[in-house]
Amino acid sequence: MKRALIASALVAIAALVVSLPGAFATTRAETAATATPGVTSKLITIGGTFPLSGPASLYAPIPRGMQVYFSWVNSRINKGDHKRGVYGRQIKWKYYDDAYNPAQTVQLTNQLLLQDKVFAIVGSLGTAHNEAIRASLNQQKVPQILVSTGASEWGTRAREFPWTIGWQPDYVAEGRAYAKWIVQNAPNAKIAIFYQNDDYGKDYLSGVKEGLGSKSSLIVGEQSYEPTDTSYASQIARLKATGADTWVILAIQTPTVRALATAKALAWRPKDIVINSVSAIDLVMSAATQSAGAAYTNGDISSAYLKNPSNPTYAKDPWVKNYYRIMHKFAPSLDAKNGNYYYGFAKAYDVVRLLYLAGKNPTRQSLMNATRKMNWVNPYALKGVKVKTSATDRFPISQMRLIRYQDGSWTEFGSLLQGR
């Protein structure tokens, strides 16, 4: 028994010794990159990670909306060069389910790079999740573009991480817009703030405080919640006790519905402000209306930067009609009214514009150069909203408009707001 043990240990050591020099030898050859990864004469492969399952699976439609747009681009003939796809290359879109776990994001992003050999990481969802892969992607000089999160740092830390860029208006800018509206329209408001206790909620919170500036004394109460909390009764009772008349709810979808229902239960009726990711999905407000009653949702304020596909205002908009036509053709089983499909679809429009801008023979470098020269109108965004970047401005979309909820739909009001 002992002898067998020693023998096996010896064999193991011998095997290690034999293998180590081989391991040393193979290290150098790997770095010699030749052609651009993910780009062939017929194909351009891009990929990303999304929470198709798990606590954030509500965002699962986003990559599917992107897929539909890419499918359409692959099938249509471009008027300029009479070719399908982008410069005759079909777009191959690979996406994986990270279940909202950053550890999975890291592994699956490696899989996209090493197995699927993608050209770029596009639209991956989640702030922490994109942070988890950012250092590695920047070290390998792999583009990490149009990430699906509005944290301000995608734009503010561009010098440190030049291979990373966001897409949508950032949360700080959005928070600032609400604060400015309050200062202008209700200079004597008593503001209560309810925010998610993480970087997401705190980004918004700092935006609101920035926007209030010297008027920050208007805030009479601040309460936070954990995403896992099942009841907010104590926090909201405290907010009610402050006598606030304006309530800024910096919470994601389900918590917002619950917060409004709790306010009704406590018979507190302030003027509500809800964030864009709540107002962009119609289902959320109708759920809130159902559980809290129309009196608690009518008049709510939010903001938007994309058109709302289910809003009657846009029923005749040619681009929204185009969206429905393409969705029905390529994915008839999907519920195209869901704003998350629309979000993915609109984002894919900018991805394709970027791929054209990266040139006929795109490289990872030329794609990143393109992200510094974005300057166009995304027809799926609100009228007047520009997609614009420069070497120093790394916030592709930074304009938005305020919207007001009345009897089941949102209406835009006021002028276009500059987030940055």
Binding site: A12, A23, A135, T228
Partner: protein
């Protein structure tokens, strides 16, 4: 018969070590990374196996100890100056140092998680069965919340980015290769340690407690000591796995250690085969590869996989448990046993001395 199995065991161990040592020369970078994760899960499963397979206790929240190890390693690697750069200001009494080389954090993470595990084991040994399962479940649920609460130390929900791993001591070897060897050498050492531990007095005592506590106690086994010991050791293994994991992904945040991972860890152990180290190894492969195949199952259209990876995962789990109720190792073992019996029965005619052959003949 025992000798046949022992020889098979030794041969299998030798072959496995040789395969894992030689693999990096032939595998691409992605496979290398996957196998590094397999080593990490193997370590965690070895620990869980000591607790569940040998001492008969249950843990539904074991990934929390992986999390404790990962946070320990991450904090030590980043160090106090690094944390201040990230704008976190942990209280001064926590000995964080100025940033440590990743490899030295492995034993420390093991010890820290082990202490937590031991401390949890002390009150937990009063519980058994469902109550114990619930208590461990609570640990798994609460770790992410605790990590969020003490954000001046843990970085809260946004998490802590580690500097990307590098090869230490100026060795001329690529980073994925280094991480692979680091993980597998650690796994080999810990597997050997577990084997030494379980074949001796402690293993017998734990087995006796599992199979009949009253009988074990009347034979002089101290149940409290051994049960808490099992908790401590298994948590220490989980902590080591956590340290390796944190360095491998170069990032920790509360979402990295969700409750679901604890359940998958236990499922992988049962799938692999309880009470067997090979079972733990098979379980580690299951844990790494099953979710990946669930995303992209072969022989299906792309539509199914992208819609329901978790459902696919669940269905595969159920099918495996139906085919192999004692885990995959149990399946292999019963297959092996059948083959050996078959071989022996044939040889009985020629070799009358085989004691096994006689018993078989008697049955026939």
């Amino acid at each position: 018969m025992r000798r046949v199995f022992f020889a098979l065991n030794v041969a299998a161990a030798v072959v496995l070590v040789a395969v894992f040592a030689l693999l990096p020369q032939h595998a691409g970078e992605l496979r290398l990374q996957r196998f590094t994760y397999v080593a990490i899960y193997f370590i965690a499963l070895l620990g869980l196996n000591i607790l569940v397979g040998y001492s008969g206790q249950i843990s539904l929240g074991h990934y929390a100890f992986v999390g404790i190890g990962a946070y320990t390693a991450a904090l030590l690697v980043i160090g106090r100056p690094g944390l201040e750069l990230l704008n976190h200001h942990p209280p001064g009494w926590i000995p964080l140092g100025d940033g440590m080389r990743a490899i030295f954090t492995i034993p420390i993470a093991g010890i820290v998680a082990g202490v937590f595990g031991y401390a949890f084991g002390l009150p937990a040994q009063r519980l058994a069965g469902v109550s114990l399962a619930l208590a461990t479940f609570a640990v798994g649920v609460s770790l992410p919340q605790i990590a969020k609460q003490f954000d001046n130390v843990t970085g809260g929900a946004p998490g802590l980015p580690l500097t990307l791993p590098t090869t230490p001591f100026g060795w001329n070897i690529s980073v994925p290769h280094w991480l692979y060897y680091e993980a597998w050498v650690t796994a080999a050492i810990l597997a050997f340690a577990a084997w030494l531990l379980l074949r001796g007095r402690a293993g017998r005592a734990l087995g006796a407690l599992r199979d009949g506590e009253i009988a074990a106690v009347s034979s002089g086994v101290n149940p409290t000591a051994y049960k808490t010991f099992a908790f401590g050791i298994s948590a220490a293994y989980a902590g080591v796995a956590g340290a390796l994991l944190a360095v491998q992904i170069a990032f920790v945040n509360p979402d990295t250690f969700p409750l679901g991972q604890s359940i998958i860890l236990l499922a992988a152990l049962v799938l692999g085969g309880l009470g067997s180290m090979y079972g733990a190894l098979i379980g580690a492969f299951v844990m790494e590869y099953l979710p990946i195949y669930a995303q992209d199952p072969p022989f299906t259209s792309n539509g199914l996989s992208t819609k329901a990876p978790t459902v696919t995962f669940g269905v595969i789990l159920i099918v495996i448990m139906l085919v192999a109720p004692n885990g995959l190792m149990g399946l292999l073992r019963s297959l092996g046993r059948k083959i050996i019996y078959r071989l022996n029965r044939n040889s009985v005619v020629i070799d009358e001395r085989s004691p096994l052959g006689q018993s078989r003949r008697a049955e026939a």
